[in-house]
C-alpha cells in the first residue's frame, strides 16, 4: 500500500471529520448548557440534508448558499422546540428527557419518510468531482469547502461564546444554573437560544454533508450515534473536543475503510468510544466534574 494512498485517505478523513465535528459541536453545546442529550440530533441533520436537496432541485441553489437560510430556519425550529417542549423537562429525570427526544426523533424520521420516500437523494453540483492537487495529494473540492464551512461556523460560535454578552450569559447558565438565576438571567430564554444555535450548527453540517453522501431517512439514527461517539471521545460539553473528536473519528473511519472493510468502520468508532469511556470517561478534552 503506497504512502500516497494512505495520505490521501487521511486528508479526506480529516476534512470529513471536521464536518462531523461541527455536527457534534451542536450536540455538545446543547448538552454543555441545557444538560439534555439531544437524541434527535441525527434526525435534524438528515432534515437539513433534505432541505438542501429540495432547495437545489427547486431553485438550483448551491448547498453552500442554501446553508444560510436553512441554518436560520433551524435556529428558529431549535428555539421553538426548546421553549415549548424541552424547557419543562429540564428538571425531570434523564430517562424522561430521553423518551421525549426519542419521541421527537420518531416523528421527525417518519415525517421525512412520508414526505421524501425511502429512496436516496443527493445534490449534483459541477465541482463535485473536481479536486485540488497539492503536491501528491488530491483534495476533493466539495470536501474542502465543507470542512472550510465547518471551521468558519465553529469559529463564529467560539467568538460568540467568548466575546458577546449573550454568549457569556449562556456560559454562566452552564456553569451555575442557580447562580445565573440569582443574578437575573432569563435562563429559559438562554436555553432556547442555545438549542437554536446547536440546531444551526447541525444545519450547516448537513448542507456540507449532502455533497459527500446521499441522504435517506434511516441515516438519522446513524448520525445520532456518530455524534454521541464524537462528543464522548472529545469530551461532552467541550467545544474544541467536539471538533477534535470529529477529526479522530473521521480519520479512523477512513483508515478502517481502507485497511479492513468499509462496513466495519463504525465498529472502530464504537471500539474507540468504549476505550475512551473506560480510561478517560470525561473525554479527551473534558473536565472532570
Amino acid at each position: 500500500m503506497s504512502f500516497d494512498l494512505v495520505a490521501n485517505v487521511v486528508v479526506a478523513g480529516v476534512l470529513t471529520g471536521l464536518v462531523y465535528g461541527l455536527m457534534a459541536l451542536g450536540l455538545s453545546v446543547i448538552f454543555g448548557v441545557v444538560r439534555v442529550v439531544n437524541f434527535a440530533h441525527g434526525e435534524m441533520m438528515t432534515i437539513a440534508m433534505y432541505a438542501a436537496t429540495v432547495l437545489f432541485a427547486a431553485l438550483k441553489l448551491d448547498p453552500f448558499l442554501s446553508m444560510l437560510p436553512i441554518a436560520a430556519a433551524f435556529f428558529i425550529f431549535g428555539y421553538a422546540l426548546q421553549a415549548s417542549l424541552i424547557n419543562p423537562f429540564i428538571t425531570r429525570p434523564e430517562h424522561s428527557q430521553f423518551m421525549l427526544l426519542v419521541a421527537i426523533a420518531i416523528i421527525l424520521t417518519n415525517v421525512m419518510l412520508m414526505v421524501f420516500g425511502p429512496d436516496a437523494r443527493n445534490v449534483q453540483v459541477d465541482y463535485q468531482l473536481d479536486s485540488f492537487e497539492i503536491g501528491r495529494i488530491l483534495v476533493d473540492k466539495a470536501r474542502l469547502y465543507g470542512a472550510g464551512a465547518a471551521v468558519a461556523a465553529a469559529a463564529a460560535l467560539f467568538a460568540f461564546f467568548k466575546w458577546t454578552l449573550t454568549g457569556k450569559a449562556i456560559r454562566a447558565c452552564a456553569d451555575n444554573y442557580l447562580g445565573a438565576r440569582v443574578v437575573g438571567l432569563n435562563v429559559k430564554r438562554l436555553y432556547a437560544l442555545t438549542f437554536g444555535l446547536g440546531a444551526a450548527c447541525v444545519a450547516i453540517a448537513g448542507c456540507a454533508m449532502v455533497l459527500l453522501v446521499d441522504v435517506t431517512p434511516p441515516l438519522g439514527p446513524a448520525f445520532t450515534l456518530l455524534a454521541f461517539v464524537i462528543v464522548i471521545v472529545g469530551g461532552l460539553g467541550s467545544m474544541v473536543g467536539a471538533l477534535l473528536g470529529g477529526i479522530l473519528i473521521g480519520v479512523s473511519e477512513a483508515l478502517a475503510g481502507l485497511f479492513i472493510d468499509p462496513s466495519a468502520k463504525s465498529m472502530f468508532s464504537f471500539g474507540l468510544l468504549i476505550l475512551v469511556l473506560l480510561f478517560r470517561p470525561q473525554g479527551l478534552l473534558g473536565k472532570r466534574t
Partner: protein, 324 residues
C-alpha cells in the same frame, strides 16, 4: 386478600382463558404484548429498581437469541441447553459492562451511551461473523407446527403464548419478592441517592453488579424465546438501537420502577400500534411512516402529560397501591 391481589389473579385467569376466545391474530398480538411485558420487566430491574438507564438491552436479547439459535442451527441442540448458554453469555456480558462502568463510577447519560456502544459494536461484529449467517441472517428450521414439542420448543402459536405468559408471571412474581428483600431496598436506596446509600454501608458496586447481571440473564431468556418464535435472526434487526428503545418504551410509558408498569405499557403500546395499522388500513392511508408518526405523537403526549407513566396515575384513580 387485598384488592390488588384479587385483580391480579383475575387478570391471570383471563389471560389463561384468553386463547379459548381468541383467533390467531389476537393470539399473536397477545404473545407480542407478553413478550414486551417480560423484557420490559427485566429492563426495569436495572433502571426502575437500581436507577441505571440501559439503552442497549437489545444486546442481551440478540446474544441470547443467537446463542440458543446457533446451537440449534449447527448442532441440533434444543433450546433447553441453549437457554443456559444464552444466560451464561449474557451474564458475563452484563458483568463486563457493569464492571467496566461501575469501577469508574460511570452513571447517567454516560452509562446509557456505554450500553449503546456495546450493542452497536456487537451488531457490526455479528454482521461479519459468517458462522452465524452474517448480514444474510440465520434461519432456524421450521418443522411441524401443530404438536407441542416442548423438548425442542417447537409447536403451535398456543405453546408460545403459554410459555411467554409463564415467563411474564414468573418475572412479575420474582420482582414482587425482590422488592421486599434486602436487595430490593438496597437497589432503591442506590437509585434515590447513591452517595447516601454508600454512606449507610451498602456495597453499591456489588448490588449494582447484581442488578445488571440479573437483568441481563432475564433479558437473554426473551432472546431465546424470540429466536424460536420468529425463527430468523438478522444482526441489523435484533441488535438495532430501535429494538433497545422498543424494549424500554413499555416500562417508561407504563411507569418506571413499578411492577405493573411494564405490563400495562407493553399492552398499551402494542395495542396502539395495531390499532393505528388497522385504522390507517381502513382509511386507505398506507403511506410508509404514517403509522410511526401517530405512534410518536401519542408517545409524546404520554411523556408530556403523564411524567411518571400511566400506571401510577391509573392506580391513583382506581385507589390501588401503585407499587404493585
Amino acid at each position: 386478600m387485598r384488592r390488588e391481589t384479587v385483580l391480579l389473579l383475575g387478570l391471570l385467569l383471563v389471560l389463561l382463558a384468553f386463547p379459548a376466545f381468541a383467533g390467531p391474530y389476537a393470539l399473536a398480538v397477545a404473545t407480542l404484548i407478553l413478550y414486551f411485558a417480560y423484557t420490559g420487566q427485566a429492563w426495569n430491574i436495572l433502571m426502575g429498581f437500581a436507577g441505571h438507564l440501559s439503552l442497549g438491552h437489545a444486546l442481551y436479547v440478540g446474544v441470547g437469541a443467537y446463542a440458543a439459535g446457533a446451537l440449534f442451527f449447527h448442532y441440533g441442540i434444543g433450546p433447553w441447553a441453549g437457554l443456559w448458554l444464552a444466560m451464561l453469555l449474557c451474564m458475563l456480558l452484563g458483568a463486563l459492562i457493569g464492571f467496566l462502568a461501575f469501577r469508574f463510577s460511570i452513571s447517567g447519560v454516560y452509562f446509557a451511551l456505554l450500553t449503546i456502544a456495546f450493542a452497536e459494536f456487537t451488531r457490526v461484529g455479528f454482521d461479519h461473523l459468517d458462522w452465524l449467517g452474517g448480514p444474510g441472517g440465520m434461519f432456524l428450521k421450521v418443522a411441524q407446527r401443530d404438536a407441542w414439542d416442548l423438548a425442542s420448543f417447537r409447536g403451535p402459536p398456543l405453546m408460545y403464548y403459554y410459555s411467554i405468559l409463564f415467563l411474564c408471571a414468573a418475572a412479575f412474581a420474582l420482582c414482587f419478592f425482590l422488592l421486599r428483600t434486602k436487595a430490593g431496598y438496597y437497589w432503591q436506596a442506590i437509585r434515590e441517592n447513591e452517595d447516601a446509600a454508600r454512606a449507610l454501608g451498602i456495597d453499591t458496586f456489588r448490588w449494582k453488579m447484581a442488578a445488571v447481571v440479573l437483568s441481563a440473564a432475564m433479558t437473554s431468556v426473551s432472546g431465546v424465546f424470540f429466536a424460536f418464535y420468529y425463527n430468523n435472526l438478522f444482526p441489523e434487526q435484533v441488535f438495532n438501537i430501535g429494538r433497545s428503545i422498543e424494549i424500554i418504551l413499555g416500562p417508561v410509558i407504563g411507569g418506571v420502577g413499578t411492577l405493573f408498569g411494564p405490563v400495562l405499557g407493553a399492552a398499551v403500546l402494542t395495542l396502539l400500534s395495531e390499532a393505528i395499522t388497522e385504522a390507517l388500513g381502513a382509511f386507505g392511508l398506507e403511506i410508509p411512516g404514517v403509522k410511526q408518526v401517530f405512534y410518536g405523537v401519542v408517545l409524546l403526549g404520554v411523556i408530556v402529560f403523564l411524567p411518571h407513566g400511566i400506571w401510577p396515575a391509573l392506580a391513583r384513580r382506581l385507589r390501588l397501591r401503585s407499587g404493585a
